[in-house]
């Protein structure tokens, strides 16, 4: 097995996008469930910013 053999690096990169989507979904779930803390609502959204732009391959 080589590092790029069989496009392994591409598959690994796709797995990272899946990790990002999973974490974003968990953040969104918490954001929807949050009932009290305005701070927490803002924080869930802030953490989502780089994850979303990475998933869209913008940055």
């Amino acid at each position: 097995m080589t590092q790029n053999g069989g496009k392994i690096m591409t598959i690994i990169m796709i797995l990272y996008y899946i990790i990002c989507i999973y974490v974003t979904a968990m953040l969104l779930w918490n954001f929807i469930r949050e009932k009290k803390s305005l701070d927490n609502m803002l924080h869930y959204l802030l953490v989502m910013i780089p994850l979303i732009l990475r998933v869209f391959r913008i940055k």
Binding site: I12, Y16, V23, D39, L46, R54, K59
Partner: protein
């Protein structure tokens, strides 16, 4: 920026939101003189949020991994075993626990990984050894910090080496020897005294029940998977693909899930873990934004200029404050802003760069206990379930803190005399 932070704190906003308001205010103030232009402010904030994206993914995946191990009863099982076999050999058990904390951080360069992976079981073990939660948190914080400085991977040293074009070689002894001595000193000073005395049988009786089907290999297998994946890349770097820490934790988490004797709802567990991690994740995002705004406005350059302009003798005294505080405010950003020009300067006047970098990288982890970020400090408090004042916890570390500071500064001052450590490492 400082004013905005103070006002936000006074309005009882969280540390993270107060830092965000400092970043936004700094950017708006800078926009008056087009540094940065107002149209670029959003881009700077968003771009800054990427600074520690990979660190955020590592934190998240590592914590979910440990949450699975904990939920399956693995942590309780390990702690029970440690107490059962080593309860009456205090020196051995303390050194053993120290090595357990040192290994993950030494391999990954992140003290936070040490805390996230082994912090909870080690803190529990400390508790059963009669060490208070406050002292347990203090040991975890200092030793996890030292683990990040320990070879083979020291991220501060790597950032400084990359930024100063000094090869990242010869650090094994200059970092390894002080880390082992200071780690042993810390666990003995903070952990030797038994604050509550109980016999082994009553301790074992009080410990949480472990699922009957839990075995050593079920606990070990996920960890062996994680360390195995790290080791395989080290041994066969040119034939094994680069997985990255996050994916390595995900694979270990899947193994932990498969061998767990209990059924675990992974979605609910992930959701709750991320909720628990939120302050840390937000801190990493906002520190990146703050760092970007400080650079775009010139504030970062001003701070760097102030450090470089300080007379040498005074600088040596101030390092004890400047280095940890730069880490507290900017985490790894401090190494780039202050460390790189400092090493160039010291190198040019005859100090040995490798030893000076090693000395400095003993001081940086101390800053991981200082606000506003206090990354490792907060994690240590979290996993050891200490609920008292944060400052009381931090005060507990005073003696190891001073000894580490003195060691680091003396290493810098006498760097040219300690050059043999670099030679012996190569």
């Amino acid at each position: 920026m400082v004013l905005a932070y103070t006002v936000a704190k006074w309005r009882k906003l969280s540390v993270e939101t107060s830092m965000l308001s400092a970043a936004v205010t700094g950017g708006l103030a800078g926009a008056f003189i087009r540094t940065p232009p107002i149209g670029e402010l959003a881009r700077h904030l968003v771009e800054g949020s990427f600074t520690y994206l990979d660190v955020i993914l590592v934190f998240t995946t590592a914590t979910i991994f440990m949450a699975i191990v904990s939920e399956s009863g693995g942590i309780d099982y390990v702690v029970r075993g440690t107490i059962k076999y080593f309860y009456n050999f205090r020196l051995i058990v303390l050194l053993l626990l120290m090595f357990i904390i040192l290994i993950p951080g030494a391999l990954t360069g992140a003290g936070s990984v040490s805390i996230l992976v082994v912090g909870a079981p080690v803190a529990l073990a400390f508790g059963y050894l009669g060490i208070s939660k406050r002292r347990a948190a203090a040991i975890l914080f200092i030793v996890a910090g030292l683990s990040a400085a320990a070879p083979p991977v020291n991220i501060w040293a790597m950032i400084l080496s990359a930024g100063t074009a000094i090869p990242y070689v010869g650090f094994e002894l200059p970092l390894g020897i002080p880390v082992l001595i200071l780690g042993t000193f810390t666990v003995l000073v903070l952990g030797w005294k038994r604050e509550s005395s109980r016999d082994k049988e009553s301790v074992l009786k009080d410990m949480p029940e472990v699922p009957g089907s839990m075995t050593w290999w079920k606990v070990l297998l996920p960890f062996l998977t994680f360390f195995g994946l790290i080791s395989v890349y080290r041994i066969w770097p040119f034939s094994f693909p680069i997985l990255g820490l996050s994916l390595q934790f995900v694979i270990a988490a899947i193994v932990a899930l498969l061998v767990s004797p209990k059924r675990i709802n992974i979605l609910v567990l992930s959701r709750d873990t991320i909720k628990r991690l939120l302050p840390l994740l937000t801190t990493m995002i906002i520190v990146g934004m703050l760092q970007q705004i400080m650079t775009a406005t010139g504030v970062r350059g001003l701070l760097s200029y102030a450090v470089i302009s300080t007379p040498l003798i005074l600088l040596f005294f101030l390092l004890a404050l400047i280095i940890p505080f730069s880490e507290g405010v900017l985490t790894y950003g401090g190494a780039a802003i202050i460390g790189i020009p400092l090493i160039w300067f010291l190198d040019s006047i005859g100090f040995h760069a490798t030893i000076a970098i090693a000395g400095l990288s003993l001081l940086w982890p101390l800053g991981d206990g200082l606000p506003p970020t206090a990354l490792i400090g907060r994690l240590s408090v979290m996993v050891s379930k200490y609920e008292g004042s944060y400052w009381r916890f931090l005060r507990t570390t005073w003696l190891p803190w001073i000894v580490i500071t003195l060691t680091g500064i003396l290493m810098i001052i006498f760097s040219s005399k300690l050059e043999f450590l670099v030679r012996w490492s190569m």
